[in-house]
Symmetry: C2
Subunit: 432 residues, 2 copies
C-alpha cells in the first residue's frame, strides 16, 4: 500500500565499510550507483560512507530516511561479525529479522556445487528484515534486499510517506548485476525512476588546455539546459554537454545544437565523442584509408604499439612493430647510420627520421613512425633534458617531425604516456 | 586559544561537486585523504559527498561540526558561480568573507606569467572567511584554507570545543600537494594528529585466488591487532596486514611476526610488498642477475615490453623487443619456419618456442621470450578459442612453455592484461 509518493524521487547512496574510511580501496560502487541513478532520472543529493559500526550505520540510515525517499546501501552483507548492514536496517526501523529459507538453500547450494560445506556463519546472510523482499543473487551468496517501507514503520521517525530501502553486496560485479537485473525493474515499476532523463555527451579535445578551452567557450559555460562543462585529465580535455528532459530523445535533441556548434568551432582540436580515444580514432582512420603503419619506438618502449593493438582488428594495419631500445638495435634493425648516432645522438630529429624511414622500408608499410626521447629519471643532460622527445612520421612522399619538450619534473610514466598521446595525435592529424 | 581539545581526533571528509553525485568522475580525493588520515592516526567516521548547492553544503558542514572535530572539504574552490565551498563555510559559522590581498596577487601573477589577464571571476578565489588562514597554493590559483574555529563561533551550534576546518581544491594533484605541504604540518602542530598510528603492509600474491587465499589463511583472518584481510583485483591477490600502535615503529613491530609467517607459508606465491608489482620484481631480478631479455610479442602487441620498460634503468636488460603481429613478421624477423605456421598455426607451442629462440638469437640476449595467442573478440575457432595463449621462454640451456586458456568471455583488454601478467609471473618464477 502506497500512501503518498513524491513525483521526483530523491535518493541517497550509503556505502558501508571501514576499509573505505581507511582509504584501503577506492569506492567505485558509489560512482556506478550514481551513474545509474542519473540514467534513471533519480536525483541524488548526498553520498555517505560509514564504517562497520552499528550505532553509526543506524544513524546514517535514519538521517537518510529523513532526507531521501530511496536509500541504497552497498556493502556489509557478508557472513562475518563485521557485516552489519541488514541488522542495522532492521534496528533502524525496529523490526525483526527472519530466516529466509530459499535464500538459505541458495547459499548452501552455492557451497555444495563447489564441494564445500557451508560455514555456519554464512547462514546469517539469509536473514531478512520482516516485510522486506530478498533479491536472489546469482553471482554470490548474499541476497540483496528491496524493502518498500510502509509509513506505519516510519511514523516513529516523523516520516509520513513510504520509503524504499535497497541493500546490495559490496563486491562490485555482484552489485552491478543485482542493481541491473533486480533493482532497476522494481524502481521502474514502483515509479521511483524519475520523469526526467539526464543525457551527457563528452566532446574530446586534444592540444588545448582546460582553461584555454573554458575561455574559448566562456559563452556556453553559462547555459542551463544543456549545461556545458570542461573537464581535464591525463593531458586531455573534454567538454561535457548535459541535458535533462522527459525522454532520452528529447534530452539528446536539446544537446544537438550546442554539440554541432562546438564541432564547428573546435575544428581539428576535437577528435571524438564519449569513449573514443586517440588510438581508436587513429585505428578508425587507418582502417578507413586502408593504410598500414609500423613503429620503431625507443623511450615509449612499446606503449604506442600496445595502444594501437588494443583495438580489435588492428592486424589490418599493423604487421610488425619494433622497440629499438639500444643504439645497437637502432643501427642493426632499422639501419640508423652510426654517423647519425655519433654526431646527433639517439635523441635527435635525424635519428627519429632515420628510424621512421628504416622501419617503413623494413615492413613495406605505408607509414613508418618513430619515437625517440628521454623518459628519465636518469639520462638527461643540460642539452638534452629529461622530457625531450623527437617524433617522426615517414611516408614515400614526406617526412613530418615534431619535437616535444615535456616538463622534466614529470614522472617517467607521465612522460611516456604524454609522448604516446602526442604521437597518436600527430598521426591522427596526418590521417585527417 | 584552544579551550579544549579531544585527545583522539575524529575527522570527516566532505567532497563537494555535482559531478560526483552524477557519477561523472570517481572520487579519488576521498581515498587519498582517508589514507593520509589513517597514516596520521586520525579516525574518520564518515565521508560525505554533496552537490554544488548552498543549502545542502551548509547542512553538511553543520552536521560534520557536530560529530567531528576536524572537517576537511575538497572541491568547490574554483572561480565560477558553482564554486560555493568557502562561502558556505563562512555562512555556516556566520562570519564575513575578506579579500586576502597576497592571495589575490598570487592569482594575478599565476595568469600574468602565462601572458593572460586574470578573468575578473578569479578574484573570488582570494576571499577567505574572517579568522581563517589562507594556504598558498603553488600548483594552482585557489588558496586552501586552514581554520582553527574558536568556540565563540560554535556556541550557536551548541558545540563547546574548537573545531578545525580545512578546505582544499578538488584538482587531485593540487589537493595532494597542499595537504602534504601545508595541512599535515599544521595538524601535527595543533595536536590533531592522533596518538595512534595505523600501519599497513600489502603482501602481493600471484597464482592464487582470493577465496583460496582466504581459506589458506583462515586462522589469521580473525586476528585483531594486527588484522589480516585479503583483497583481490586485476587478477592478483593481496593480504593486507594492518596494525595500530602508539608509534609507527611499534605498529610495524606488531605486524612483523604475522608478515614473517605469511612469507614462510606462501612461498613463491608471494612476490612482493606494497607497490612492488610483477614487472618491478622481474626488473629487479634481471638486474640483480645481470641477465638480458628480448621479447617477441604477438597478441599482447607490445604490452609486456611496455611494462618492462616502465622501469627506470630497463635499458640495462633490454636492447630490442619485437611485436611480430603478422605471420610474415614472425617468419621474416624471428625466423619461424613457414612449415610450423602451416602445420601448427601461429598460436601453437611450436610457434611460441620458435619465436622465443629466434628473438634470443637475433639480439644475443640471455633470455628470449615469446607470447602468441588469440585476444579476440574475433579470430577464435572451436579448436583454438579466444583466450588461448602460448608462452615460451628460451635460453641456451632450456625452453619453458606454458599454455593459458583464459575465459573466452573476457574482453580483449582483460585477455591481454592477464596474459602479460601470466608472462611476467612465468619469467619471475624462472628468475627466482
Amino acid at each position: 500500500m502506497v500512501i503518498s509518493k513524491p513525483k521526483q524521487s530523491i535518493a541517497e547512496v550509503i556505502t558501508v565499510g571501514t576499509e573505505l574510511l581507511l582509504g584501503q580501496i577506492v569506492d567505485t560502487n558509489t560512482q556506478h550507483l550514481a551513474q545509474e541513478m542519473a540514467r534513471l532520472g533519480i536525483n541524488c543529493f548526498y553520498h555517505t560512507t560509514v564504517g562497520d559500526n552499528k550505532e553509526r550505520i543506524i544513524a546514517c540510515i535514519k538521517a537518510a530516511l529523513k532526507r531521501a525517499d530511496l536509500i541504497i546501501l552497498s556493502g556489509g552483507l557478508g557472513p562475518t561479525a563485521d557485516d552489519l548492514t541488514v541488522e542495522c536496517m532492521a534496528k533502524a526501523l525496529e523490526v525483526e529479522l527472519d530466516m529466509h529459507q530459499p535464500s538459505l538453500e541458495h547459499i548452501k547450494k552455492f557451497f555444495s556445487t563447489r564441494n564445500i560445506v557451508m560455514p555456519e556463519t554464512n547462514a546469517k546472510q539469509a536473514l531478512i528484515p520482516r516485510g522486506a523482499e530478498p533479491l536472489q543473487n546469482d553471482t554470490g551468496t548474499a541476497p540483496g534486499i528491496y524493502w518498500d517501507v510502509q509509513p506505519e514503520l516510519l511514523s516513529k521517525l516523523n516520516i509520513e510517506c513510504n520509503r524504499i530501502m535497497v541493500a546490495l553486496p559490496g563486491v562490485p560485479f555482484e552489485l552491478k548485476h543485482l542493481f541491473k537485473v533486480q533493482v532497476t525493474p522494481r524502481l521502474m515499476q514502483d515509479g521511483e525512476a524519475g520523469s526526467a532523463t539526464i543525457y551527457s555527451i563528452d566532446l574530446r579535445h586534444y592540444g588545448i588546455g582546460e582553461s584555454a578551452l573554458a575561455e574559448r567557450y566562456a559563452d556556453l559555460l553559462h547555459l542551463s539546459n544543456p549545461t556545458v562543462a570542461p573537464y581535464a585529465g591525463h593531458g586531455e580535455c573534454r567538454l561535457r554537454v548535459t541535458a535533462k528532459a522527459a525522454s532520452l530523445e528529447e534530452a539528446k535533441a536539446l544537446t544537438k545544437p550546442v554539440v554541432d556548434q562546438i564541432i564547428e568551432r573546435s575544428g581539428p582540436l576535437l577528435y571524438g565523442f564519449d569513449d573514443t580515444n586517440l588510438e581508436t580514432e587513429c585505428a578508425r582512420l587507418l582502417t578507413q584509408k586502408g593504410m598500414t603503419i609500423s613503429l620503431a619506438e625507443s623511450c615509449t618502449g612499446g606503449l604506442m604499439s600496445k595502444l594501437l593493438t588494443d583495438i580489435a582488428g588492428s592486424s589490418k594495419f599493423i604487421s610488425l612493430n619494433l622497440v629499438t631500445y639500444a643504439n645497437e638495435a637502432k643501427e642493426k634493425m632499422v639501419g640508423v647510420p652510426s654517423e647519425i648516432l655519433a654526431q646527433h645522438g639517439a635523441v635527435s630529429e635525424e635519428c627519429a627520421k632515420s628510424m621512421a624511414r628504416g622501419v617503413r622500408l623494413l615492413t613495406s608499410s605505408v607509414i613508418g613512425y618513430a619515437i625517440t626521447g628521454i623518459a628519465g629519471p636518469d639520462g638527461g643532460t643540460a642539452d638534452k633534458p629529461v622530457g625531450l622527445v623527437w617524433l617522426a612520421l615517414d611516408t614515400e612522399n614526406e617526412t613530418i617531425t615534431k619535437e616535444l619538450r615535456l616538463p622534466s619534473h614529470l614522472s617517467r610514466k607521465e612522460i611516456r604516456t604524454r609522448t604516446a598521446k602526442e604521437a597518436l595525435n600527430m598521426l591522427r592529424l596526418y590521417l585527417v
